[in-house]
Structures are given as structure tokens and as C-alpha cells.
Symmetry: C2
């Protein structure tokens, strides 16, 4: 079958999106690197842990939430561990597992970095959008994410074998 190319509207949207997200990610990364000494992805690790019960999450769980590969997370947590912001513990009831725990120092670092981060997100994104647009943004990307990971199982999702796992594991088995 012959390719269904993008319509002019779709092309414009696609290009705008690419340019926008590259600049956006860049601005965020730079700000965090400067003020917190870590890239966005690492900040997200701290942020995610801080919201988890007991500030702890199993590696696979964390990877799932971050939409990151396991090996990426391993590397990142190792680095954060060296910095004393995160600690690794063994999973009680599953000797294979390992759990990342946010240390007090990690929490402090996070709280320290948060205001600057939020300011950036605001000035770069939300200050430029109307309330309706905020809703539209949520709607659009929720749909995209659902399609890509939700067990909706169409062609596009087939390529994401390992990104679908989950295993509630913060409290009791």
C-alpha cells in the first residue's frame, strides 16, 4: 500500500512539536544541571521517590513510572547513590529485587531544587498557555501515552516489550 503522508496541517504540527520539545527539554535540562547538578531525568527519579510511600520504590517500578529502560535507571541510581541522594536496599520478600530509597540528603536536594525547576517550567511553558491549552496539552499527551503503553495492544505498542511491567511493591507483598 502506498504511504499516507502527513497532511500540511499535520506537518506543521509535527515540526512545531519537534522544535518546541527540543527547546523545552533543553531549557529544563540546562536549568537543572546548573542549579542542581543533574539532568531532568535524574531529578525525576528524586521526585518520584519523594512521592512514593516511605520514599522507596523498586527499580522496575521506578523505571516504569519514569518511562526509562532498566539499564538507564541502574546507571542513574548508581550515580545518585554516589552522591548520597539515594540508597539501595534489598527487597525483603523477593531476593532478586532491589529498592531505591530517597535519603534525607536526597530529599533536601530535591526541595532545594524544586522552586527553580517549577519557575522554569512555568516561564517556559505554562506562562505561555491559556487554561484551555493546558487542558488540551493534558488531553493530547494522555491519549498518546495511553496508546503507547496501555495494554491497548495495537501495532505501535508491540515494540515496547519491557516497558509494560509493573509490580506493586512498596508496602507488603
Amino acid at each position: 500500500m502506498t504511504t499516507r503522508w502527513l497532511t500540511p496541517e499535520e506537518q506543521r504540527a509535527w515540526r512545531a512539536y519537534i522544535a518546541g520539545y527540543l527547546l523545552l527539554e533543553d531549557a529544563i535540562d540546562r536549568q537543572l544541571q546548573q542549579e542542581a547538578g543533574m539532568p531532568h531525568a535524574y531529578y525525576s527519579i528524586l521526585a518520584n521517590l519523594s512521592e512514593a510511600p516511605e520514599r522507596r520504590l523498586r527499580m522496575t517500578d521506578l523505571a516504569e513510572r519514569l518511562k526509562a529502560t532498566r539499564s538507564r535507571l541502574t546507571y542513574a541510581v548508581t550515580r545518585l547513590e554516589k552522591d548520597g541522594l539515594v540508597r539501595r536496599e534489598d527487597c525483603e520478600w523477593d531476593r532478586r529485587g532491589s529498592v531505591a530509597v530517597l535519603t534525607d540528603e536526597g530529599m533536601a536536594t530535591l526541595e532545594n531544587a524544586a522552586p527553580g525547576h517549577v519557575d522554569t517550567v512555568r516561564s517556559v511553558l505554562f506562562d505561555r498557555l491559556t487554561p484551555e491549552q493546558v487542558g488540551q496539552l493534558e488531553e493530547i499527551f494522555t491519549q498518546v501515552a495511553r496508546g503507547l503503553q496501555g495494554d491497548g495492544g495495537d501495532a505501535a505498542a508491540e515494540d515496547l516489550p519491557w516497558r509494560r511491567r509493573s509490580s506493586p511493591c512498596s508496602g507488603t507483598p
Copy 2:
């Protein structure tokens, strides 16, 4: 002044956006890596060159369009050059300059990869959006990009010193 945190709506939008774009970029990268042997950023280099007059663009120009750093582009073009998809030439009227040219082989590779790429973009993004949402997406990210690079010069843009350059240089001086 105390931090203006994100509203619940903004938080939801921000999280949805993060998850969505990570999954999206991931799907795109994987598809291109598989079928064309290169990441999205490299594909974009070929695509941009293919649309330029004479299929050639000065390095800085190309970097500007790609929203990439110069050093990143240098590395990428070197790789593509090794693969024979791009060639470097000296800029005629500015002995400092160097120009990236899409080779015939590069064009062929691009044309070969394009259908699969478009299919992915469709299935992952546009097939899930209504026409109105396509318009909203364009609008939102156009605003973001303009704010971040446009010479609108507010605080957020201060951090992007080198990303603003431009120097029309494809045709005559």
C-alpha cells in the same frame, strides 16, 4: 518571593506531557534505529538537507534548524559522512565555513526510510488525535518554541546564547 507551584491542572498536564513525549520519542527512535540504522536526530539531518536548495546547508544553519548544539552536529555529520550519506564541503565565500551536502546515497536512504517513519508518526500520534487537536498541538508548541528562541528576550531565553544564530548561506553570499 515564595514559589508559585503548579496548579493541579498544570501538574496533570505536565506529567502527561512528560510521559507522552518520552514514550513517543522512544517509539520513533526505535523504529528509525531498526529500519534505518540511525536515531531520530540523524534522520532529521537528512530530512532537513533534502529540503534545502541544492541539498546543502551550512553547519550553523543546520544546527539552528535542528535546535542542536554545534558540537552535536559535528559529531553526527562525521558519522553520516562515514556512512556516505552526507558530504562536507568548504564554504565558498567564507573560508571558516563548512557545508553539509546530502549525497545521492543519503537521499536514497532517506526516501527509503521515510514511509516507515511516517507510518510510525501516524500510528503513534496523529491517528489518535482529532483535527482540532492537531491544530492545538501546533499552536501550543509554536508558542513554546517562539518564546524559547524568538528574540522575545525574556528571562528564559537568556540561557540559550548560541542557539539563536542564523546566516542564510545556501545560495549566494
